[in-house]
């Protein structure tokens, strides 16, 4: 397994990084490298230039409401000022070793994954490639052939669900300036483009609403092994209790489609006439119906959908008796 050759750039501040990005034709950002480098070794769309963010100090802020893109996931788990739901979710990502390298920004921008894509070059040659990495052959999608131009590779990052559940805002920067948006709006329903990042743009940090500390939450993750494995389905729930009643409820899913799912509207609609277990059951069924996984990860899609129901129920179980 050989790394394809690339030129590594290591700018030491954000301005230089952005300037450099504007100059290069084709490049990737690299932070922890735990996603990018394995993909490069498998020749999955490697680029001639790679810009490392490891020396960019502006991206490492960490507090109760601000999380820099270059914060290591391990530090999220260990830092007590971080929101408990974020910490819990971060603690389920990959393994401790990987978490020590992997970063928040890298996890948010995780490349989408697919059985027909995350394979070596020789393997992909044996299936005549696929359209996410077609090596100029114009190959079709291997999951759902003859469909359309969309890629159905699955977004399998955990943190996104928690950020959406906590109503976080994501902040981007590029040569044309900074911009911000609700976390869920960052993603684009296509396994190839994945998100709204333009060439030369990067995620700088994520902020949580000021009252995030009043929200509690839970994250439930489906995976075969309690380490390493990407989420085959993930459900994050966050709620706010006021006067013994649910004052706010948000739900998000990940690991099932090309983008994470925001089901907060559905959840919010349920709190008016909250009926404990029954409401939870109904919500869980709603989530199951809203999400449509395809057959491109370890577990079959039908099972993953059914498990969404169970995971939602379990995430919301603290609200059973309200």
């Amino acid at each position: 397994m050989r790394m394809p050759p690339f030129t590594l750039h290591t700018p030491d501040n954000l301005a230089k990084a952005i300037a450099l990005a504007a100059e290069l034709d084709s490049f990737d950002w690299i932070s922890g490298g735990t996603d990018l480098l394995p993909n490069y070794k498998w020749k999955l769309n490697p680029k001639p230039d790679v810009i490392s963010l490891s020396k960019v100090q502006e991206l490492t802020a960490l507090s109760g409401t601000v999380i820099g893109a270059m914060v290591r996931i391990h530090d999220l788990v260990e830092n007590e000022s971080v929101h408990p739901l974020i910490r819990e979710t971060a603690g389920t990502i990959a393994s401790v070793m990987i978490r020590r390298s992997a970063t928040v920004g890298g996890n948010i921008c995780l490349d989408t994954r697919c059985y027909w894509f995350n394979q070596t070059e020789e393997w992909r040659r044996s299936i005549d490639w696929c359209h996410k990495c077609d090596c100029d052959t114009g190959a079709d999608c291997r999951v759902i052939p003859n469909q359309n131009t969309l890629c159905v590779a699955t977004y399998q990052a955990d943190l996104a669900a928690a950020f959406i559940a906590l109503d976080a805002t994501i902040h981007l920067a590029s040569a044309s300036g900074a911009r911000s948006m609700p976390f869920a709006d960052f993603f684009e329903l296509d396994g190839m483009t994945r998100n709204v990042l333009k060439t030369g743009e990067l995620v700088t940090h994520v902020t949580l609403p000021d009252d995030a500390k009043n929200w509690q939450g839970a994250y439930q993750k489906l995976r075969l092994r309690e380490t390493w494995d990407f989420p085959e389905a993930g459900v994050a729930a966050a709620w706010k209790i006021e006067g013994g009643k649910i004052a706010g409820l948000r739900l998000a899913t990940t690991g099932c489609e090309s983008i994470p799912g925001d089901h907060s509207e559905l959840a919010d609609g349920a709190i008016g006439e909250w009926a404990g277990k029954d409401s939870i059951r109904e919500l869980a069924e709603g989530v199951r119906k809203a999400v449509k996984p395809v057959s491109n990860t370890y577990f079959p899609p039908a099972y993953r959908r059914k498990m969404l129901r169970v995971l939602t129920r379990r995430a919301l179980s603290p609200l059973e008796h309200l």
Binding site: T120, E122, W123, L224, P300, V310
Partner: protein, 935 residues
């Protein structure tokens, strides 16, 4: 001749003893255990000779052992770290990928992107013209066939006329660096004509226009059947009418070994014109033979150098095509060539456990006896034969023990498909069908209303007996294994007594301890294992052995055996086991043979060396060796320990006229087994036994199974090194748990292997590992070195059925598909809910246990059998015993004379194959070409 061993009921006996020294299986009585071959060195122990300091006064619970008088209390039975542990821990062990020779070239292999295709042409011109490329080779450079089994050689270094699976080798290049080699490899153009490929094993049973291999006149019809087996023994009629029956149709996924170190090889032709190949091989000797055959050079011009092996588990026991490629490229280029595999290539060479479809019938009669086992096993061999010939037998014959059975009816077939080749993997051939048998027993016990523990205990073959197909059972600790796990797990309180989702289950296992008739072996000429010792003036002993240390501890075991006899500390023993140039031939690390055979050879060699030194001590001290005791680096007079001589002094005296002391020891098995076709498969000089209890938590809403705890009792005869045995037990549990719960080679809808990597090939992590309680049972095998038997493979078998049976206890679902991944179990739970008429799986009813009157009878029988077995162990009763005595047969008369229904057949009749459900039986619908007449 001991009376206890019958080669066949009514046959054998001293009158038929041959005097010409020839060894003829099937005609003589089994050899007396402990003879260990043609030179029975050992007399039965005279307790006087064992020094009191090491427990000479102790009576052994299972009687004395022939090696007792060689016990010096030095290291046997003590937990010692493996002798090569520090090399590994400090990173100084050299594995395949660590070998670097000056001027090396990097080799790369071009592989097939097609499942099945004819090669019309290969153009290597562009590659050859590239700067930095030194040599290119294709199938034309090596036309000789090879294969691990002499009867099924069907591999070439590279494809000759067609490729048989994605990843099959097409060509290879070597260049000055890896990048150039990859570029060169990619510049080779191959013109293929794609052929229709076969992916489902049942399609392999059909006639094909283009069978994957052509075996000439031995080809079975026009099909892809590589091997078929039929065996019928016993009273099949009572099987078909048995009142308690469980029949299941198992689907078992293929498995890969998942060893840490990918394959790697370095080949170099030295200035003397000799070839040296460095490879992490389990079986260097077979590689040696295959290299000679493929390269057309005599064996004496080849030195096979085994590197440290980063895990093998059967996956490094074939001679491999990439090893041939490295040698071919090295010959062409005149420089050393190194080839390292990527992980994906490891899956393409595979040789893992066969994907299997097994129909298993377990039947029992009104007396709670196992009336019979009926098995039909169709196994998917992938594109090459590998060990498959043997695997096809093992799927059946390895469940003829540990239970006494009324009948045995086996049909097995192995087919070629366009997948990476299956082969031998830890527990070779026995694992899948053992799981099916043990789950069947559990189901039958439930039908009877008896405790599955009791059912097993009341049907065990006694020690010193013979199985239904003619295996010689010497020692067995099966009963003790069961008793221990029953007690330690709290079985009696927990069984069928826990809430929904919590369950407990038991499973047993039985495995060969060395293959009695190994692959490349001439029973008249070669021993199975040979050990040479050399002791020079420094007093240390160098052990030359060909046994392949693959992490299992074979270097340590042989060092311990020598150290024990010579009463030397382990650091005075040096192992040289790596090179064929300096090591006597050993048949390799497979079939769990090394400790048993190599240590027996080592003991023999050490005794010879010791006798030389004792003779010298005699000359110095004036006391006869019979009254001399060898202790820690000192030889002294038994009745006055103050009178003695140091080891070194005695060694120097012994060397006075001859220089360095050398000795040689060898081991070969006694003639064993029946005379029917296939009688040699599964034959072993001893067998290991094990029983596990597993406790599981099943999440009924998600289908997740977590093994909470496992009690794992294994009878290894004698734990030479308890630390190593426990390590093997725990490691086996981990591997077996992977197979039962998560590991599988997944093939996509187009036949592609979807998970050739360690992320999606799900090996259990530390989080999934239960608390394993390793329990060592010592049955003191009469032929094993110091009583030892294998502990490397057998301990894997019982964890699978124990978990399956525990799942049944927890949620009432009988498993018949492996692995039991959450999605599969969830599907079963949904179906089960429907059947039981419940909406919420949390409301599922769970099985409960009401003992029937039979339970009491079986308990009494188990107790009587325990007393019987004890007497047989301590040699007060060694009357002959064969499978069938429990059913009223006389062991001293031929079975067929005692029952009209008795059958012993290895060729099926049409009636035998009539059952349309039996898949493997369909393999017999074809006629081998040589019997097809002129057409």
């Amino acid at each position: 001749m001991g009376k206890g061993y019958r080669q066949a009921p009514g046959k054998g006996g001293s009158s038929k003893k041959r005097t010409d020294g020839k060894r003829q299986a099937g005609q003589q009585d089994f050899g007396v255990p402990g003879s260990g071959g043609s030179d029975p060195h050992s007399k039965l122990q005279d307790l006087d000779y064992v020094p009191e300091s090491v427990g000479g006064w102790k009576k052994q619970p299972r009687g004395p052992h022939v090696h007792d008088r060689h016990v010096t209390g030095t290291t046997i039975g003590k937990s010692v770290p493996l002798v090569d542990a520090n090399w590994k821990m400090t990173g100084q062990a050299q594995y395949g990928d660590d070998i670097r020779l000056p001027g090396e070239l990097i080799g790369k292999i071009l592989r097939s992107p097609h499942h099945y295709a004819k090669i019309k042409s290969i153009d290597t011109a562009a590659a050859e013209a590239m700067d930095g490329v030194v040599a290119v080779a294709t199938g034309q450079d090596s036309v000789n066939k090879f294969g691990v089994l002499p009867v099924t050689k069907d591999e070439h270094a590279m494809a000759q006329d067609k490729v048989r699976h994605v990843g099959d080798l097409v060509a290879c290049v070597c260049a000055v660096d890896e990048a150039t080699a990859i570029d060169a490899m990619n510049s080779i153009s191959v013109d293929y004509e794609i052929l229709p490929s076969i992916h489902d094993m049942e399609d392999g049973l059909l006639d094909s226009e283009n069978p994957i291999h052509d075996r000439g006149k031995y080809h079975i019809g026009e099909s892809n059947v590589q091997k078929r087996v039929f065996q019928q023994f016993g009273d099949l009629d009572s099987m078909s009418t048995a009142p308690f029956r469980h029949e299941a149709d198992w689907e078992v996924a293929g498995l890969h070994h998942g060893f840490t170190e990918p394959h790697a090889v370095v080949a170099h032709w030295d200035p003397s014109g000799r070839l040296t190949v460095w490879s992490p091989q389990q079986v260097p000797h077979y590689l040696h033979r295959a290299l000679s055959a493929v390269l057309d050079i005599p064996m004496h011009q080849i030195n096979v150098h085994r590197t440290f092996v980063g895990g093998g588990f059967g996956g490094k026991s074939d001679p491999f095509p990439h090893e041939m490629c490295a040698a071919i490229l090295a010959r062409k280029s005149g420089r050393p060539v190194r080839i390292n595999f990527d992980r994906e290539e490891v899956y393409w060479i595979n040789r893992g456990r066969h994907p299997s479809r097994i129909q298993m019938g377990v039947f029992a009669d009104d007396d709670g006896r196992i009336a019979g086992i009926e098995t039909d096993a169709l196994i998917d061999g992938g594109a090459f034969a590998s060990f498959g010939h043997v695997t096809t037998y093992y799927n059946g014959v390895l469940h003829t023990a540990p239970y006494e059975i009324g009948g045995f009816n086996y049909t097995g077939a192995r087919v070629w498909t366009n997948k990476p080749a299956s082969g031998a993997m830890r527990g070779h051939g026995a694992v899948n069908s053992r799981c099916a048998v043990e789950v069947g027993l559990d189901a039958v016990a439930e039908q009877m209303g008896v405790d599955p523990m009791t059912l097993r205990l009341a049907n065990l073959l006694p020690p010193h007996s013979r199985t239904i197909t003619g295996f010689r059972i010497t020692s067995t600790g099966m009963r003790e294994c069961l008793a221990k796990v029953r007690e330690l797990s709290g079985w009696d309180e927990k069984f069928r007594n826990m809430p929904l989702g919590k369950g407990i289950g038991v499973g047993c296992g039985f495995f060969i301890s060395g293959s009695g008739l190994p692959i490349h072996w001439d029973p008249e000429n070669f021993p199975h294992a040979t050990v040479h010792l050399q002791c020079d003036m420094d007093g240390g002993v160098t052990v030359h052995t060909g046994a392949a240390e693959i992490g299992q501890g074979s270097d340590t075991a042989v060092a311990q055996a020598v150290a024990e006899v010579l009463a030397l500390p382990l650091d005075m023993i040096r192992i040289r086991s790596k090179e064929s140039d300096t090591a006597p031939v050993d048949l390799g690390s497979y079939s769990s043979r090394v400790t048993f055979m190599n240590c027996n050879a080592a003991i023999r060699a050490a005794i010879e060396l010791r006798d030389k030194v004792m003779k010298a001590a005699h000359e110095i001290l004036g006391h006869h060796p019979d009254v001399l005791v060898i202790g820690d680096r000192r030889i002294y007079y038994k009745h006055d320990p103050a009178v003695g001589v140091s080891w070194l002094e005695a060694v120097h005296k012994a060397q006075a006229d001859v220089g360095s002391l050398i000795s040689s020891g060898a081991y070969r098995t006694a003639p064993m087994g029946g005379v029917h076709k296939g009688a040699a498969a599964g034959l072993a000089p001893a067998y290991s036994f094990s029983a596990y209890v597993a406790e599981v938590d099943v999440d009924v809403e998600t289908g997740f199974v977590k093994v909470a705890k496992a009690w794992a009792a294994h009878d290894c005869g004698k734990a030479l090194n308890p630390l190593a045995v426990k390590g093997q037990i725990i490691g086996s549990c981990h591997m077996g748990m992977g197979q039962v719960l998560s590991e599988e080679m997944k093939y996509g809808r187009d036949g592609h292997l979807m998970n050739p990597d360690l992320l999606d090939y799900k090996i259990m992590s530390v989080h999934e590992m239960p608390d394993v309680v390793p329990i060592i049972v010592e049955s003191n095998d009469p032929e094993g070195p110091f009583g030892a038997k294998e502990a490397g493979e057998g301990p894997l078998l019982p964890i699978l059925p124990a978990v399956c049976n525990a799942i049944y206890d927890a949620i009432g679902i009988r498993i018949d598909e492996l692995p039991v991944t959450p999605d599969r179990l969830h599907k079963r739970i949904e179906k089960h809910c429907k059947k039981m008429g419940v909406d919420d799986p949390l409301d599922l009813p769970i099985p409960r246990y009401e003992p029937s009157p039979l339970q009491q009878r079986l308990m009494e029988r188990a107790e009587a059998h325990a007393a019987r077995d004890h007497l047989r162990d301590i040699q007060e009763d060694r009357s002959s015993y064969v499978n069938g005595v429990l059913f009223g047969f006389d062991p001293d008369k031929p079975m067929s004379e005692q029952s009209d229904g008795w059958r012993e057949s290895v060729t099926p009749t049409a009636e035998d194959l009539a059952d349309p459900k039996k898949r493997a039986a369909r393999a017999w619908s074809h006629v081998e070409r040589r019997y097809q007449g002129d057409a």
